[in-house]
Amino acid sequence: MCVTCLVDQFFPEVGIATVNSLRKAGVDVDFPSDQTCCGQIAFNGGFQSEAKKIAERFLDIFEGESYVVVPSGSCASMIKVYYLELFQDDPVLLERAQKLSERTHELSEFLVNVAGHQNIDASYHAKVTYHDACHLLRELGISDEPRELMKSVEGLELSEMQDSDRCCGFGGLFSVKYPEISKAILEEKLRNIESSGADILVANDCGCLMHIRGAMSRQGMKQEAMHIAQLLSPDADRS
């Protein structure tokens, strides 16, 4: 499991939920303890040399694993898609990156397509709405799998919001460089969450979640923002 730097440092509870949901699917989970970050922030900022160093380190750490499962669409995209671009001029590293790319999966897609775990034995009594994280949706083409998982959770009602596939305005560095534009985009997302009537906003990416949750708490909204893994854990249901 690559837990991602955001989960590691800010949202460890998502990491725990990820381990639990994988174990429940009968997966033997290992956490290579040297892991830090996939390098996406540097790559997206244009710092490719710096990103390469971190990506190479990532290859060293994760190469031995049979599968690399990531609870984030954008980190999984970095590893699966953008490492190949990063190493396009280095045949040796490119080959290693290609092999790793094939074995890397985002959590929900792994649970459904690899672990064959569509009918997850979990219950969570709440009305939720789902935000399609951009990289998960458009780099990896994953939109059905998380919905399938949620539909199999007992007591969970999925109420789709309008434009669930529209960006929340995070974009990593973008939200720091252009906080006003980012916030204006986020407002639209918050409105759509609100009008979905859901109590919980679910996404598969802690970047989006951090962003959306940050505005929810600032504005005193009553809704919560949660990672999908947190709905799938055996001890998830608090109702």
Binding site: P12, F31, G45, V176, P179, I185
Partner: protein, 481 residues
């Protein structure tokens, strides 16, 4: 060349997001375009639509890879049809060619149908300076000409103007009575333009496509002004970017299906005009002279790089603008030149000045929505990433990223290079964050570059223990055992 104000992106965009009237208009119009597009492509199904895009992309790619051959062919076919072809290295040269033709014809008035290349050229200003009256005849372009503004959107240049504002412009310039009836406003413009059509010496049009095989300029319009512009005056000048080439006439059909559907959500536009030269000697009317000006203006800089070359496939439909979360908030004028939105953020820096336009490639969340709607499959996020890479590691004419950002990323890289250094750094931060943390959240993070975030959003505090620590405590023994 039209004035380049890309350096003001930050200021202009922050003004735009705080303008409630503009936000309202953007939401309304963009929403309409997106809905219309979805409706217009529905009949094909995802798979066929994708095949059409793929085919269009490969036709464009082929045309660009053999551009020298096709430009030469255009030169020959148009001459054979009795027209003249001019090649202009930059906008200055393109303007001079137009002015030379105008002077020779002793032209006093030029009517124009919509052309983005002529916007690049700043042709209206150049004509005015030479004492020639330019009149835009596309309704949107006419409105922004009266308002003396650049286009706000590639296909809807005056979308930011309300009925009220248009009425006020007409009152000022045409001395008409105030009205907010759109039909009435159209009638006013139509009356004013009718007289210009019948008295103009030259018609200047753009070109949606230039077909090499037959020497044909194809215009896709809705108002009929394009056909008037290309048929009423004695001289027709078409201005086109060199990338608008299509190899053969049978290629056009595919693009006539893709373009209006992607742009306005129409299955076909009201007028598709094919012009292959001046009138035949047997024709009773039509222009006696036909000129095509093929403008480079930096496009060869895009051509030279196989990745940037992709951007020249663009058919200017505007779909990427409509779907872009950034454009939908900052609007067209923020981008500071002729082409706004995602495609503008890619081509403007290369066509104008990379350093001066340094903010554009970063004005994106890299969400990829633009790539998904592009009818010729331009991978815009990839090109934005390339420009960002150039801003960091390019040559001195490209590097624009500040030392403080370099320092921060360098420091970040060192920190994430070993597990022990990330533990050290985050433990220190855990200790320091106590000062700004309340109930696990940070409401104001007084750090350079980041403080803007917390103006409208809370920032999470670092968790008391990292996942790595929790794993060690909770799970590692189970795994080992």
């Amino acid at each position: 060349m039209a004035e380049v104000k890309t350096a003001k992106f930050k200021k202009a965009s922050s003004q735009a997001v705080s303008d409630p009237k503009l936000q309202n208009t953007l939401e309304h119009v963009m929403g309409h375009f997106i809905e219309a597009r979805a409706g217009a492509i529905e009949e094909f199904g995802d798979e066929s639509w994708d095949q059409m895009r793929e085919r269009a992309s490969s036709i464009k790619k082929h045309a660009l890879e053999n551009l020298d051959y096709y430009l030469d062919l255009i030169d020959r076919t148009i001459q054979k049809n009795g027209g003249h072809v001019h090649f202009a290295k930059d906008t200055q040269e393109a303007n001079r060619i137009v002015l030379d033709i105008a002077k020779k014809a002793e032209a006093k008035r030029v009517i124009k149908s919509k052309s983005m290349v002529s916007e690049e050229m700043g042709l209206n200003k150049a004509l005015e300076k030479a004492g020639i009256e330019p009149v835009e005849t596309d309704l949107g372009e006419y409105i922004i000409q009266l308002a003396d503004e650049p286009p706000f959107h590639i296909i809807a240049p005056a979308m930011h103007k309300t009925k009220q504002e248009v009425s006020e412009l007409f009152q000022d310039w045409l001395r008409t009575a105030p009205t907010q009836d759109i039909k009435q406003l159209c009638i006013i413009a139509r009356d004013a333009l009718r007289e210009k059509f019948s008295t103009a010496d030259i018609g200047v049009s753009g070109a949606n496509f230039v077909v090499a095989e037959t020497g044909t300029v194809v215009l896709v319009t809705n108002e009929g002004n394009g056909r008037m512009t290309t048929s009423t005056p004695k001289i027709h000048i078409a201005v086109s970017g060199i990338e608008k080439v299509l190899p053969a006439i049978e290629d056009v059909g595919l693009f006539l299906r893709l373009l209006p559907r992607s742009a306005t959500g129409q299955r076909i536009t009201s007028y598709n005009t094919f012009v292959s030269g001046p009138k035949f000697s047997t024709d009773e009317d039509g222009p006696e002279e036909f000129h095509l000006i093929m403008v480079d203006n930096g496009r060869l800089n895009l051509m030279r790089d196989p990745e940037f070359r992709e951007a020249l496939k663009c058919i200017r439909c505007g779909a990427c603008l409509n779907t872009c979360p950034i454009y939908r908030k900052v609007g067209g004028h923020s981008y500071g030149w002729v082409y706004p939105g995602p495609i503008g953020a890619v081509i403007t820096p290369v066509l104008t000045n990379i350093k001066q336009s340094k903010d554009l490639p970063y004005a994106s969340t890299l969400c990829g929505a633009c790539r998904d709607v592009c009818p010729v499959k331009i991978d815009i996020p990839k090109l934005l990433l390339k420009l960002r890479h150039m801003a960091v590691e390019g040559d001195s004419s490209q590097r624009s990223v500040s030392w403080i950002e370099r320092l921060m990323i360098g420091q970040w890289r060192k920190t994430v290079s070993t597990r022990s250094s990330i533990e050290r750094a985050t433990n220190l931060a855990r200790f320091l964050q106590v000062v700004v943390t309340k109930k696990g959240i940070i409401r104001n993070l007084p750090l350079p570059l980041i403080s803007g975030w917390t103006k409208s959003r809370d920032f999470p505090a670092l968790a008391p223990k990292s996942f790595a620590q929790l794993w060690q405590e909770k799970f590692s023994e189970e795994t080992d055992g």
